[in-house]
Symmetry: none
Subunit: 238 residues, 2 copies
DNA sequence: CCGACGCGTCAGGGTTGCGTCAAGGACGTC
DNA sequence: GACGTCCTTGACGCAACCCTGACGCGTCGG
């Protein structure tokens, strides 16, 4: 798994690393960059808070032993305005320290020396958790002049009314809309909607493309949004 | 701080404890109840999944060494239909075990023997994190022209009278209302209401949707609020 | 000029999925 | 121990959907 999010390649995950020991920072930065994270680094609390404000990281890895201020203060400073996941790194094993940091708003607490694999796994967990609220929009809608497609609610709106689509029609529309502007080959469409063994049943496509156009296009016989590329495939255009 | 949420006293936080060692379960239950948590306990994976489905805990404390199934399988079973925070307890310190559990969807990993204070702090952190999606809804009541649903009071009002709903009816209504306007797939409904292993028993849905419509729709045979999307699922519309 | 090919359109038939009803059984209450 | 409520399960009719084949049209190449 190369992409840190594990899913479809989106905008890279941004990590803010805060530690005053250069060798730790270096190790973290190297490992994170190798896994396609975008990394900022700070060596003290002041610059950590500044960087967090200016760069809006998706997750913060924070060492508690900083030269200029108490690590817990950094947590509070962050929690004053953001819910970004905070993963605390600390050499102190005492239970009180952990409780204090966690109750101040940290999301996780790892003691030094730490295993890089474990740290990365905890980091993935923290990012994954924050994904729906932090990064993903709720309403993924695509609009054209004729109709509106809401991919989350699975709704199509047209001329003030909801359009009823059958499961197959919707599935086909979904694949096309997720590739707005791009050509999608017949084979790809067939295999995504009907299954891997249906790569050549092009007549299915003809029938269902016609139904989509009849339900959605202003002039179904002269489609403007569901474009045929003869011999190749279909394309959805806004 | 007595209240586990630390903030305004709301409905108590429900914890599901999963462990096959009675003394651990006892220690956890005592400590959690003393802090005003509501606690369910399971000794194996099967009953853990069932309890999670029926009781909808706000957080799960899960021991990986269970008699009937691999702990990671329990995590996957839960993640198939819920994002409830999972705090893993384990006697195994190996890095691989941790990574596997975390990547399967666990939120935190604590090795035995553990400090109770630390565990409780990690539990608070997990619950706090999940709060916005789990508990902080703005719309507590949803109104239609025919009836009113109060999600907090768990009451349905219609034509000046309270409507009696069975637990299952209410549960189903709740899932639909929380997704007002959005299509909810049959599988998701079944797994949320009946449990992870009921993803294909579509006849349950048919029976209970009919009952909901009979009790709430003005004209049950022509539903306006509980819409069927054939082959896909159901949708609640204001 | 003619045939081949790809695409759009239409209509019929098999199959699936949904709504409805009713009966059996588990559970808790009195 | 009797009663009532609720959940489960099966059967049946009906509507909707998916597949299939046939036909017409346009384009391209021989």
């Amino acid at each position: 798994m190369l992409s840190p999010t594990g899913g479809t390649p989106r905008t890279p995950t941004r990590v803010l690393v805060v530690d005053d020991e250069p060798q730790i920072v270096r190790a973290l930065v190297i490992n994170l960059k190798a896994r396609k994270y975008e990394v900022d680094a700070a060596a003290d609390g002041r610059s950590a808070l500044d960087l967090a404000a200016s760069r809006h990281p998706d997750v913060v890895v924070l060492d508690l032993g900083l030269p200029d201020m108490d690590g817990v203060e950094v947590i509070r400073g962050l929690r004053g305005w953001t819910r970004v996941p905070i993963l605390v790194l600390s050499a102190r094993h005492s239970s009180d320290e952990k409780v204090e940091a966690l109750d101040a708003g940290a999301d996780d607490y790892v003691t030094k020396p730490f295993g890089m694999d474990e740290l990365l796994a905890r980091l993935r967990a923290a990012v994954r958790r924050a994904e729906p609220t932090g990064g993903g929009e709720d309403d993924v809608t695509v609009e054209t002049d004729a109709f509106t497609v809401d991919l989350v609610a699975k709704k199509v709106h047209r001329a003030g009314r909801d359009v009823r689509l059958t499961p197959t029609e919707w599935h086909l529309l979904e694949v096309l809309v997720r590739n707005t502007g791009r050509l999608v080959s017949q084979k790809q469409l067939l295999q995504e909607v009907w299954g891997p063994s249906y790569g050549t049943e092009t007549n299915y496509l003809r029938v269902y493309m016609a139904q989509l156009r009849r339900k959605l296009e202003a002039d179904p016989s002269h489609p403007r949004h569901f474009v045929t590329e003869p011999g190749m495939g279909y394309r959805f255009e806004k």
